[in-house]
C-alpha cells in the first residue's frame, strides 16, 4: 500500500491537499482560503516525503504478461455459441485503491464545554481544528495498448457533526474529487484530466493552508513535466457558488396559460477560471539520491464572470450586474535539503478584483457599479520543516492584506498575520511530543466604541492579537517524522487573547468574555494513499 502511495505521489509532483467543504468556507474577506480546512503534509500524503520538487521517480512499468503454454490437448472445435461473446477488454493491469485523510478529536475547553477553534485570523494554528475526513476511492489502470496510465478518483469528504457526538443521524458530506486522469499520453510526462477536482500546490501544514494555488473547480487540465525538471500545467474550469452574486432562482407564472408557477434561473452565471503554473526543479546533487535542490514556481489565475440580472425583491424591477473578472499572480521559491523532509517555502501572491475574494464566498462589499473591481489581496507567506535525529521543527507564517471593492474601510477589510513554530521531539520511533507557539494578529477596518471605555472616542481600526501555546504528545505507529502519520495524540492548547481580540466577538460570546482559552483534546490524525491534488 505504501509503495502504491509513493507511486501516486511521484506521478503528481505537487503536494497534496484537501479542501474544505463549501459550507465551511469563510466569509468574504477571510481570504479565499480554507480556514479550518483539511490537512496536508508539507508535501505529501500517505506518509510520503514532503513535496520537494525533486524529479519524481519513474513509475514501475508493468511487465507484459507472457502467454503460458497450453496444458491440455486442443479439444474439438465446438459450434459457435448462439449469443456472441462480449468483446474482450483491452489487456491491462489495474487495481482499486483506498486512501484517506482524517482528523477526529474529542475536546473540552476549560469550562468543560466543547473545545472550539480559537483563531482570530483566516489561517491560524491547526491544533484545535474540528473533525474532518476524506475517503478516496481510486481505480488505477495501466493500458498496455497505449501505455497510458489512468486514475479515476472519487473523494468523499465528511465534516462535523459526528453522530456519536450529536446523536443526529445525518451527514455533512461533499464530493471533493470526481475525475479521470490520464498520464503519459503519447509523450512521457504529458497528463490530462477532466472532471471535478481540487488543484493545489504546496501548503503550510501548521496553518492548514495553501497560500499560492488552491482551486476547486469543475473543469479540465493538462500538464507536461520534462525530465530536466521543468513542468507546466494549465487548468480551466468553472465554479458557481450558490450565493446571490452568481445565482438567483425566482418564481414566474407558468407558461402557456397554465396554472401555478415555475422556478427559473434568473441569475445564472459562473466563474470561468483559468490557471497557469510554471515550475522548475533544480537539484544540486545526484538525481538518484536524496540531495539538496531548489524549486521555483510562477503562478497566475484569470477569472471571468459574465453579466447578469437579478431581482432585488420579488416583483421588483430587474437590476443589471455588469460582467466582472479578476486575476492572480504569484510565485514560490522552495529550498530543500533532500534529507528528512527539510525544506523552506517562500510564497508571494497578489489577487485583484474577483480573485481577491474567497473562491466560494459571496463578494460581499462591491463597488458602486456592483462589481468587484478595486478589491485586492496581498499574501506573503513562508513555511518550513527541519529534522535532525530526534528533534524536528515546523514553522509557518504569513501576512495577508485584503480590501474589498467598496472604497471606505469596513469590517471586511482586514490585515492579518500569524506565526507558528512547532518543535517536535521523538521518543524512539513510536512516540513523540509536539510543542507549538503561535502568535496571531488581525486588524479590521471598523471604527467602534470600546465598551470598556464608553466615554472615550471611538477607536479604529479594530486590532486584536492572540498568543497560542500548545503541547501534543502522540503515538506514531508509522515511525518518526513530522510528516509521518497516523498519530494518536493528546492536545492541550492555551489561547491568550488581548482586549482587542475579544472585541471581535459579539456580546455574550464566550470568547469575548474569556482572556484565557483552554483546549484539551484526545484524537487522531491520519493520511495514507491519497492522490495528490496537483497534477
Amino acid at each position: 500500500m505504501r509503495e502504491l502511495s509513493i507511486v501516486a505521489l511521484s506521478l503528481l509532483p505537487l503536494s497534496s491537499a484537501l479542501a474544505q467543504p463549501a459550507a465551511e468556507q469563510p466569509p468574504a474577506g477571510q481570504g479565499g482560503g480554507d480556514a479550518g480546512a483539511p490537512p496536508s503534509g508539507g508535501g505529501g500524503e500517505g506518509g510520503a516525503p514532503p513535496e520537494q520538487g525533486g524529479a519524481p521517480p519513474e513509475p514501475a512499468k508493468p511487465e507484459p504478461t507472457k502467454p503460458e503454454p497450453p496444458k491440455e490437448e486442443p479439444k474439438k472445435p465446438e459450434p459457435p455459441p448462439a449469443v456472441p461473446e462480449p468483446p474482450k477488454e483491452t489487456p491491462h493491469k489495474g487495481s482499486f485503491e483506498f486512501g484517506s485523510y482524517g482528523r477526529v478529536i474529542a475536546a473540552v475547553n476549560g469550562e468543560g464545554g466543547p473545545g472550539r477553534d480559537a483563531d482570530i485570523v483566516a489561517h491560524g494554528s491547526r491544533m484545535d481544528e474540528d473533525n474532518y475526513m476524506e475517503a478516496e476511492l481510486r481505480r488505477e489502470d495501466d493500458w498496455d495498448k497505449t501505455g497510458i496510465h489512468t486514475n479515476v478518483v472519487l473523494t468523499l469528504a465528511l465534516a462535523s457533526p459526528v453522530f456519536h457526538w450529536s446523536g443526529e443521524f445525518e451527514l455533512n458530506a461533499a464530493i471533493r474529487n470526481m475525475y479521470l486522469e490520464a498520464r503519459d499520453i503519447g509523450v512521457k510526462g504529458l497528463t490530462a484530466w477532466a472532471g471535478s477536482r481540487m488543484v493545489r500546490g504546496d501548503d503550510i501544514y501548521v496553518l492548514d493552508w495553501w497560500p499560492l494555488d488552491n482551486l476547486n473547480l469543475l473543469g479540465a487540465g493538462v500538464s507536461y513535466a520534462h525530465e530536466v525538471g521543468t513542468s507546466g500545467q494549465l487548468v480551466v474550469g468553472a465554479t458557481q457558488p450558490n450565493v446571490p452574486f452568481f445565482k438567483q432562482t425566482v418564481e414566474r407564472p407558468a407558461p402557456l396559460d397554465q396554472y401555478g408557477s415555475v422556478a427559473i434561473p434568473l441569475l445564472d452565471r459562473q466563474k470561468l477560471i483559468g490557471a497557469l503554473r510554471l515550475q522548475h526543479h533544480q537539484k544540486f546533487g545526484p538525481k538518484d539520491k536524496p540531495s539538496p535542490g531548489l524549486k521555483a514556481v510562477l503562478y497566475g489565475e484569470g477569472y471571468a464572470l459574465p453579466e447578469g440580472q437579478y431581482e432585488p425583491e420579488p416583483g421588483a424591477e430587474l437590476e443589471q450586474l455588469p460582467s466582472d473578472g479578476g486575476f492572480t499572480v504569484g510565485g514560490q521559491v522552495t529550498l530543500y535539503s533532500g534529507k528528512r523532509d527539510t525544506f523552506v517555502h517562500l510564497f508571494a501572491r497578489y489577487s485583484g478584483n474577483l480573485a481577491a475574494y474567497g473562491q466560494f464566498a459571496r463578494p460581499g462589499h462591491l463597488n458602486l457599479e456592483k462589481t468587484t473591481e478595486g478589491a485586492r489581496e496581498v499574501v506573503v507567506a513562508a513555511a518550513g520543516n527541519a529534522e535532525i535525529e530526534f528533534f524536528g521543527v515546523m514553522m509557518g507564517a504569513y501576512f495577508r492584506s485584503f480590501r474589498d471593492a467598496s472604497e471606505p474601510l469596513d469590517f471586511e477589510d482586514v490585515d492579518e498575520g500569524a506565526v507558528v513554530l512547532r518543535p517536535t521531539f521523538s521518543f524512539g520511533e513510536i512516540a513523540g511530543v509536539a510543542l507549538e507557539g503561535a502568535f496571531e494578529m488581525a486588524q479590521r477596518g471598523v471604527v467602534y466604541q470600546n465598551p470598556l471605555e464608553p466615554d472615550a472616542a471611538p477607536e479604529g481600526p479594530a486590532i486584536g492579537s492572540v498568543w497560542r501555546l500548545g503541547i501534543a504528545p502522540y503515538i506514531s505507529p508509522a515511525g518518526r517524522g513530522n510528516y509521518v502519520r497516523p498519530h494518536i495524540r493528546a492536545i492541550y492548547n492555551l489561547a491568550i487573547r488581548d482586549e482587542g481580540s475579544r472585541q471581535f466577538y459579539p456580546e455574550d460570546h464566550p470568547f469575548r468574555a474569556r482572556e484565557l482559552e483552554h483546549y484539551f483534546g484526545l484524537g487522531a490524525e491520519w493520511w495514507f494513499n491519497s492522490s495528490s491534488y496537483g497534477f
Binding site: F284, P292, L294, A296, L298, P312, E313, G315, A316, E317, V329, G330, G331, Q332, V333, L335, L346, A348, R349, Y350, G352, G364, H365, L366, N367, L368, K370, G374, R376, V378, V380, S401, R403, D404, A405, S406, E407, P408, L409, D410, E412, D413, D415, Q443, G445, V446, V447, Q449, P454, D455, A457, P458, E459, G460, P461
Partner: protein
C-alpha cells in the same frame, strides 16, 4: 545557491509588488481623518443668517459606499435605499454650485433597523444614542464629511430626537409575556377596542394591565430582543430603566397637553420622561441626553442641531438641555452652535414659545435647578430658533399654493416679536430668535411643493424664503423638481436624476443664493412690509406682497422685494390709485437683480410705480 535564491526571491517579490502597485496599491490600514486624538472644536459660523440650509435625508441623497448597503430595497419607499455620508460628501461640488452653505443631515445615530415592515432609514427611531447608524457609514466617514464641508466653508447640522426612542418595548397589558394585537370588548356592554400592546391608546394614569377580572395596575414594560432588527436594549443604559419613559401610551389627541407631552409618538415610539435627572430623581435622563449628543459634537465638530418634535417634550427640558449643551461646548471652544427645533404646528405662539427666554415661576425654576450640579443655575434660555411652520401654512400653503390674500403674511409677521424670543440666548447664536426663523417651503414631513403647486409657484415661493427675514432651508430634491406627496412619497432617491445643474429650478436656487450672498440686507436686514393685500382672486392687487429689507445688521444695504403670488392674474402694488411707498429718497434708482436687470426710479415721497407683475413672479430690487 544563496545568491541564486536571493535573486529569484527578489524577482518574485518585485513582480508581486509591482502588480499590486499597478492595480490598486495596498497601503497600511488607516483613516484619512485620523481617529486618534481629540478633535479641536472650532466655531465655523459668523452669523447663521448668512447661511443657506439644505436638508438631506441621507438614505435618499447619494450612495457612495456599496459596502454599507445592508437590507437595501429600493423598490419600497419605506425601506433603506442605500444613501450614505460618503455619497453626500461626493456631491459637495453640486451643493456648492447650488449655493448651499449648510447641510442639515438626517439623524446619525443607531436606530431600530426595521419594524412592522418599515425601516428606520429616516433615523427617527433611536436605539443607541452612543453609536452611529452603520447604514450611513462610520465615524471616519462622518468626520470626513464634516471636515470636507468645513474646508469649503460649509457647515453641518445634525438632526436629533430627544422626545422618544424607537419601538423598543411593549406594554404587557394582559401579562402573558407576549406582544399581543387584539380586539377587546363586546360592543354591547363594553366598547370594542383595538389594543396593540406596542402602541396602546393613551391612558393618563399610565398604561394599565388588565385581566378578565379587571384592571391590575401599571402594565409591565417588556423590552423586546431581536438583534437581527436591532430591537435590543437601548443605550445609554439609563434608557433600559422603565422609569425613563412616561409609559402612557400613544397620543391620539394632540390638543390634550398631557397627551401632547407625555404620550408615545404614533407608531409605538416610546416617549422619554425628559423631566428626570440623576441629581434630583435618581434617573439621569437629562444628563444622558446632554452627554450623548454633546459627544457627537465633540467627536465631529458639527455646527448645530435640528431638534425633532420639540412640542412633545416637557418644556423644562429645553432649558436644561440647551443651556448645559452650550456651556459644555463653549468650554471646549465651540461657540455659535445653533439649535433649532421642529414643532409641527401652525400656531405661531406655540412654536415661538420654544425660543422665548421667559423665566418660569420661582418655585419651578428652583425645582429645575435641583438637577444642576455644576454651579451654573438655569436661566430662561431655550432654542435659538424653530422652523417657521406658521409661515409655512400661512404663506407657502395659503398664499403661494392656494392664492389667498397676502395680508395674512403681514399679520403673522406682526406677531413674531410677541410670540418669539427677542433676545439672543447666552452662548448662543448672537441673534434674537424672532430675527432668525428657519424658513422653508416643504420638508420630509409634508408633501413637496410641486405635489400640488406649479413650477412658477415653486420659484416664487423659493424667492420668498430666500428674501424674508431668517434662514432659508431647502429640502433636497427641490432643485430637481421632485414632486412626491406625503411621507414616504416625498422621500425620493435623488441619484436617479444624475445631479444635473442645468435645470430651471436648480438655476433659480443658484441665482437666489448668489443674490442673497451679495446682499447684506437680504441676509441681516430688518424687515418691514410695504404692501400687502386682503384681496384675492381677480381683485385689483390680489396676490401682491412687498417688503423692504434694510437696517438691522445690514448697514446701509437695502433691498425691496415685490411678489405677485396670484396664480393667474397680473397684479401690481397699486390699489385705488395708491402705489407702493418705500423708505427710499426720491430719485433712487433700483435694479431688478432677479429678472432681466430692469431699472426703476423712486418717485416723490418714496413712491414706486411698478407695472403689473406676471402671475407667480417677483422682483428683487436693490439700489443700482
Amino acid at each position: 545557491m544563496k545568491k541564486r535564491l536571493g535573486s529569484r526571491s527578489l524577482a518574485l517579490t518585485a513582480l508581486v509588488v509591482a502588480t499590486a502597485a499597478l492595480h490598486n496599491g495596498s497601503g497600511c490600514m488607516s483613516y484619512d481623518e485620523g481617529l486618534e486624538g481629540e478633535i479641536t472644536l472650532q466655531t465655523h459660523v459668523e452669523d447663521w443668517r448668512d447661511e443657506v440650509i439644505y436638508q438631506v435625508l441621507v438614505d435618499r441623497f447619494a450612495d457612495g459606499d456599496e459596502g454599507n448597503n445592508y437590507r437595501v430595497d429600493r423598490s419600497a419607499m419605506g425601506k433603506y435605499h442605500g444613501g450614505d455620508w460618503k455619497g453626500l460628501e461626493g456631491q459637495l461640488d453640486y451643493l456648492q454650485e447650488l449655493g448651499v452653505t449648510t447641510l442639515w443631515i438626517s439623524p446619525i445615530i443607531k436606530n431600530v433597523d426595521t419594524d412592522a415592515g418599515f425601516d428606520g432609514y429616516h433615523g427617527y427611531w433611536a436605539q443607541d444614542l452612543t453609536a452611529l447608524n452603520p447604514h450611513f457609514g462610520d465615524l471616519a466617514a462622518l468626520r470626513s464629511l464634516v471636515n470636507a464641508c468645513h474646508e469649503r466653508g460649509m457647515k453641518v447640522i445634525v438632526d436629533i430626537v430627544t422626545n422618544h426612542l424607537g419601538q423598543l418595548f411593549y406594554y404587557d397589558i394582559n401579562m402573558n409575556g407576549e406582544p399581543d394585537d387584539r380586539v377587546a370588548g363586546d360592543g354591547v356592554s363594553s366598547t370594542v377596542t383595538h389594543i396593540n400592546e406596542y402602541d396602546p391608546d393613551f391612558d393618563p394614569r399610565g398604561i394599565q394591565s388588565r385581566t378578565s377580572l379587571g384592571e391590575a395596575g401599571p402594565a409591565p414594560v417588556i423590552f423586546t430582543y431581536d438583534p437581527a432588527t436591532n430591537h435590543v436594549p437601548p443605550q445609554p443604559e439609563v434608557f433600559q430603566n422603565p422609569l425613563a419613559y412616561n409609559r402612557k401610551g400613544r397620543t391620539y389627541n394632540f390638543e390634550d397637553p398631557d397627551q401632547l407631552v407625555h404620550g408615545d409618538f404614533p407608531g409605538g415610539l416610546k416617549d422619554v420622561n425628559t423631566v428626570l435627572c440623576e441629581a434630583r430623581d435618581g434617573v439621569g435622563v437629562k444628563e444622558a441626553m446632554v452627554d450623548s449628543f454633546a459627544r457627537w459634537v465633540e467627536l465631529t465638530d458639527i455646527d448645530g442641531f435640528r431638534i425633532d418634535t420639540v412640542k412633545h417634550v416637557e418644556r423644562e427640558f429645553w432649558r436644561y438641555f440647551t443651556q448645559k449643551l452650550r456651556q459644555r461646548l463653549a468650554d471646549k471652544g465651540k461657540a455659535n452652535f445653533i439649535m433649532f427645533g421642529e414643532a409641527f404646528d401652525g400656531r405661531d405662539n406655540l412654536i415661538g414659545a420654544f425660543t422665548k427666554n421667559d423665566l418660569p415661576s420661582e418655585d419651578q425654576l428652583a425645582w429645575e435647578n435641583e438637577c444642576v450640579t455644576d454651579g451654573r443655575p438655569l436661566t430662561g434660555d431655550q432654542l435659538d430658533s424653530v422652523f417657521y411652520f406658521s409661515q409655512y401654512f400661512t404663506a407657502i400653503r395659503d398664499v403661494f399654493q392656494l392664492g389667498q390674500s397676502t395680508k395674512r403674511i403681514e399679520d403673522l409677521w406682526a406677531l413674531r416679536p410677541v410670540n418669539w424670543g427677542t433676545e439672543a440666548m447666552e452662548l448662543g447664536t448672537g441673534v434674537a430668535p424672532s430675527d432668525m426663523p428657519i424658513n422653508f417651503i416643504d420638508n420630509h414631513d409634508v408633501p413637496r411643493f410641486l405635489f400640488t403647486g406649479s413650477r412658477e409657484g415653486l420659484h416664487n415661493a423659493l424667492t420668498f424664503v430666500f428674501t424674508v427675514q431668517g434662514v432659508p432651508c431647502i429640502y433636497y430634491g427641490t432643485e430637481q423638481e421632485l414632486a412626491g406627496g406625503n411621507d414616504p412619497s416625498n422621500r425620493e432617491d435623488l441619484w436617479p436624476t444624475g445631479f444635473p445643474t442645468d435645470g430651471p429650478t436648480f438655476d433659480v436656487i443658484r441665482r437666489l443664493s448668489a443674490i442673497r450672498r451679495d446682499s447684506a440686507a437680504l441676509r441681516r436686514g430688518a424687515i418691514s412690509v410695504v404692501w400687502s393685500s386682503d384681496r384675492s382672486g381677480d381683485e385689483e392687487d390680489a396676490g401682491v406682497f412687498a417688503f423692504e429689507r434694510a437696517g438691522g445688521d445690514a448697514g446701509d444695504d437695502y433691498a425691496l422685494v415685490v411678489f405677485n403670488a396670484n396664480p393667474s392674474k397680473d397684479s401690481a402694488p397699486s390699489f385705488n390709485g395708491a402705489n407702493l411707498t418705500t423708505s427710499l429718497p426720491q430719485g433712487t434708482e433700483l435694479v431688478d437683480v432677479l429678472g432681466d436687470g430692469q431699472t426703476f426710479t423712486v418717485g416723490a415721497g418714496g413712491e414706486l410705480a411698478l407695472d403689473p407683475l406676471a402671475p407667480q413672479s417677483a422682483l428683487i430690487l436693490v439700489p443700482n
